[in-house]
């Protein structure tokens, strides 16, 4: 079985290259990030890895073509089982592999091919490289031979010329006499010349003839090399022509992509036939190119043997041998295709339109009529109920009804394990289906069975469509997932884009419960903006997606893994900071500031108010914990991210205990040996005690009753909304409604204590 371990997406929408991103080993991976950061592109990238189908609008403006790679974990030895006759070396490699990489890459016509990548392709590439080196060597030799042949032929031509010259000098006697007459030379002179030159010329002629014979003899021997060389040149020219033609076609395709990308819609006025012709031509030419290259390679190898002196027949035989020895009978594409058959199904749940219908005919279910409304949801429903058609064959309607009622109860119970919402206090919804028959008023259907669905509560019995969008969404989602987990015989990677956007916070947490339940069967990757869909104690599940340039939607997306989250922008980390309690969008974990962890949001408000009131300029970032028990987790995160931080603890029992716990079980000092557990100076039980009682009443409570106990005790005893009061206080400070001059000396003295403490943290 293949289980997705990591992915890498290149040139897909806003993504240039994500680099390898590991998904969570516990099968639930969460992508967080702002709108337009590229989260959905990641999901779509993974989806098209599986489907292979892309459109122009996923292309980047530079038109570089997408490439999506996935790394899967496999059990060692599994590849051997599914690879026939891998050969010794490949077998050895495959047997030791515990992961497999597949890469889908697209070409100009937007068709794609799956290749095996990673170690296997490296091995196959090394074979290919050796083959190419061999062919290059042969090509060089062939070129040398061709040059040598050409030189020899030139030499022969030259010798021929020289021979002609000499021969012209050795003229017959009658010609010489005629010349004598014509030029009025004396015969004695001519005779003298003849005596002095003729013997030399004859010798030269002999030498030339000898040389020519030698060269011709060699040329004769090399006639097959020459023939091979000429064919090589022809083939090479053809390949060049094909390449040029492909380039032209690619340009045409790119132009179209460019127009489509710019228009962001299909080009309606594009003559379809012409476009199809181009596409056909492109694909045909690519196929032809592959054939021609194979032919060229084979011919080069053939030429090598010819150069070595083999006969053409011998060379033909040797070529197939050498190809076998250099090249595995597998290539990356072949193996990629083979292994992809075992790849998990990647399913993107973006559209839950296939909601549970009000009713569906049994006939449609039996015939698998996918076009009927709600077919998928009804099928999922029956799958969850472990029902098939035979169930409805029960002859006794009483027994059938009883069985249906039992199933309804079971389904509802199972659903309630995940859906905790109540309508009112204790009123939970019930899922119900009933087998009915059309009456006579339904012409053509009278007497035929149909299934009717209800979602009912104690007050109402409503059709699914009459229920809220949230309930319908969750129910459909629940059924899809549970059914997929039940029926899928293949591993599945479920991609969910912003699940539960229409759900209440608590129901969103229920979505997480469903994820947890199915994660052993289905790997889940989902995007979210919701803090309720991120588990703070499982930050290893989080990948942050953000733009390189946060202010530009044209910049590229990048993904930050859990260990890099500290360098993500505050906006990207919003869901996390909301969980941790940080309510200020512009603030957050900071690697450039000193992070001071405080017990809760209320203290966060108070400390920020003090910072503002006192005009404190130090680079301090106050980080609120959700509650005191979350402090060790925050500390671990900070330590993991290598950030400067300290924990500020107040003088209450819980925090005193926490200080002891942190000291004993976690740490005392950071890597620079700085104290990171800071006890609040003064006997402040909590941050509101920093204010004098009078200021507490004046600025926080806006009340005048006597408060003889510490402010924090008063808030607790009276069960007052602490966070609200402190938030309002900070808000008033920000708006300038409260200034430092409005506080008494006791409060100001306390403020001074705090700012001195903060100053000491730098």
């Amino acid at each position: 079985m293949m289980k997705l371990k990591a992915f890498r997406i290149k040139n897909f929408r806003s993504i240039v290259d994500t680099g390898w991103q590991n998904i969570s080993p516990d099968n639930i991976t969460c992508l967080i990030g702002q709108n337009e950061s590229g989260k959905t592109s990641v999901l779509e990238g993974l989806k098209v890895f599986y489907s292979g189908i892309i459109s122009e609008d996923v292309l980047r403006s530079d038109l570089s073509l997408p490439e999506v790679s996935c790394r899967f974990t496999i059990t060692e030895g599994w590849l051997i089982k599914i690879t026939d006759n891998p050969g010794t070396e490949l077998k050895e490699l495959l047997s030791g592999l515990s992961h497999l990489e597949l890469t889908r890459s697209w070409i100009a016509d937007l068709s794609s091919v799956i290749n095996v990548s990673g170690e296997i392709s490296q091995y196959l590439d090394s074979l290919e490289d050796a083959w190419r080196i061999y062919l290059n060597d042969v090509t060089l030799k062939l070129e040398e031979e061709m040059i040598s042949i050409r030189d020899m032929e030139t030499s022969v031509a030259k010798l021929n010329n020289e021979e002609s010259d000499i021969r012209s000098k050795l003229v017959p006697d009658e010609v010489k006499v005629l010349s004598f007459r014509l030029f009025r030379k004396k015969p004695a002179e001519v005779e003298n010349q003849k005596n002095s030159h003729f013997p030399g010329l004859k010798n030269q002629l002999n030498v030339l003839q000898k040389q020519k014979e030698e060269i011709n003899e060699i040329l004769l021997k090399k006639q097959f090399v020459k023939k091979a060389g000429e064919k090589w040149k022809n083939l090479q020219e053809k390949c060049t022509q094909i390449d040029n033609h492909l380039k032209e076609l690619s340009l045409k395709l790119e132009e179209r992509h460019q127009r489509m990308t710019l228009l962001m819609r299909s080009i309606e006025d594009d003559p379809d036939a012409e476009w199809k012709e181009v596409l056909y031509d492109y694909r045909k030419t690519r196929a032809e190119r592959e054939l021609r290259i194979a032919e060229l390679d084979s011919h080069i190898a053939f030429s090598g043997y010819i150069i070595e002196g083999s006969t053409e027949a011998e060379a033909e035989n040797k070529v197939s041998e050498i190809i076998q020895s250099y090249k595995s009978h597998y290539n990356s594409a072949f193996l990629g295709k083979k292994y992809f058959e075992h790849c998990p199904v990647f399913e993107l749940f973006e559209d839950f339109g296939s909601l549970l219908p009000n009713r569906i005919d049994m006939e449609d279910i039996i015939s698998g009529n996918e076009n009927v409304e709600g077919y998928k949801a009804a099928r999922n429903f029956l799958s969850l109920a472990h029902l098939d058609y035979s169930f409805f064959q029960q002859p006794s309607s009483r027994i059938l009804k009883q069985k249906i009622e039992n199933i309804n109860n079971t389904l509802t119970r199972n659903f309630h394990d995940f859906w905790q919402q109540s309508i009112g206090r204790n009123n939970k919804i019930h899922i119900q289906f009933e087998l009915e028959h059309y009456n006579a008023s339904f012409l053509g259907k009278a007497g035929k069975p149909y299934i009717e669905f209800w979602i009912k509560d104690e007050g109402e019995r409503l059709y699914p469509k009459q229920r809220s969008r949230g309930v319908r969404w969750f129910l459909s989602f629940y059924m899809e997932l549970m059914a997929s987990a039940n029926i899928s015989d293949k591993q599945m990677v479920l991609l969910v884009d912003e699940p539960g956007v229409s759900l209440h916070a608590r129901a969103q947490e229920d979505v997480l419960k469903v994820f947890e339940n199915i994660k052993d069967k289905i790997q889940i990757i989902y995007t979210t903006h919701s803090p309720h869909l991120v588990e703070i104690n499982k930050l290893h599940r989080v990948l942050a997606v953000q733009r390189d340039d946060l202010d530009s939607m044209r910049s590229t997306s990048r993904i930050l893994d859990p260990l890099q989250l500290s360098s993500a922008s505050p906006d990207t980390l919003t869901p996390l900071q909301n969980i941790l309690g940080n309510p200020m969008g512009s603030e957050g974990f900071s690697s450039k500031r000193f992070n001071l962890i405080v017990n809760d949001t209320g203290s966060f408000y108070m400390l920020n108010a003090i910072i503002l009131l006192m005009g404190f300029k130090g680079k301090i970032c106050v980080i609120p914990s959700t509650n005191i028990s979350s402090i060790p987790l925050l500390c671990n995160i900070m330590m993991g991210w290598g950030m400067d931080f300290a924990v500020l603890l107040f003088e209450n029992d819980e925090e005193i205990h926490m200080a002891e716990y942190l000291k004993s079980s976690v740490f005392k000092t950071d890597s620079n040996r700085r104290e990171i557990i800071i006890k609040m100076p003064g006997a402040f039980l909590n941050s509101e005690d920093i204010l004098s009682t009078l200021d507490f009443k004046n600025h926080l409570l806006e009340s005048r009753e006597g408060i003889p106990v510490p402010n924090s005790v008063y808030l607790r005893e009276k069960e007052l909304p602490r966070n609200f009061l402190l938030s309002r206080f900070l808000s008033n400070v920000k708006e300038g409604k409260i200034n430092a001059a409005d506080f008494d000396e006791e409060t100001l003295e306390n403020f001074k204590l705090i700012t001195d403490l903060l100053a000491g943290l730098k």
Partner: protein, 271 residues
Amino acid sequence: MSVEKPDNPDLLSLLPKKDTDDHLASLRYAQMIQHALMPDPAILKGRLKDFFILFLPRDIVSGDFYYAFRTRQKMCIAAGDCTGHGVPGALMSILGISFLNEIMQSDINLNANRILNLMREKIMQALHQTGNSNDAQDSIDIGLCIIDYVTRKLQYSGANRPLIMIRKGELTEFKPDKMTLGVAPVKEDSFTNNCIETQPRDSFYLFSDGFSDQFGEITDKKFKYKHFKRIIHSFEVLPMSQQKEHLENAFNEWKGQAQQVDDVLVIGFQL
């Protein structure tokens, strides 16, 4: 607690004799309790060079009270004046003493003004004062000093009660905040803390308004605060015990046969 000042102070005379005896006995017992709650002057001995406490309740029980609390390093001295006198005043004074004890025992290192701030909170809470017009208007005026023997500093904070200091024959008055320990008419503010670098032989006086508000038998006028200061100033060279004697004589002379209108409390101490 709402207190109405009785027009006729001798209400007991209206009661049958047996009832009167019972009430008197009850009041005497209450007096003992109130005295028991107030500190034994002996705790001031040894720590102060000299001191006196002139305590002249108008009735058997008093709305004025004095308070002292000391540790090795610090001593707190206070003179309180509760709304009204007699039983209602006494009950308020018991509240005041209890609150002071609570505060001092919890943290002696509090500044004088913070003690008053805290006391006010306790009183407002005890009397359910929230700033509404129908709140009980009872309160305590008080002058409170914290003496630090190590730093030789004296902190003073006053709720309508001033502090008089006489240093080398010169009288200095430290004015109090014009607020009481109880709900304020408009808004409660923090009390002010006065920090005084003391010198040997400095004399300090805390007091209620009973002395200066006393009507004279002959003049039918109040003694007045400026005369009170003058008389204090004129006695300053005398030992504290003699000062007390002279003050008491002066008070009695001024009052003559007239009715004492309020409880009288003057605390004098020399460092």
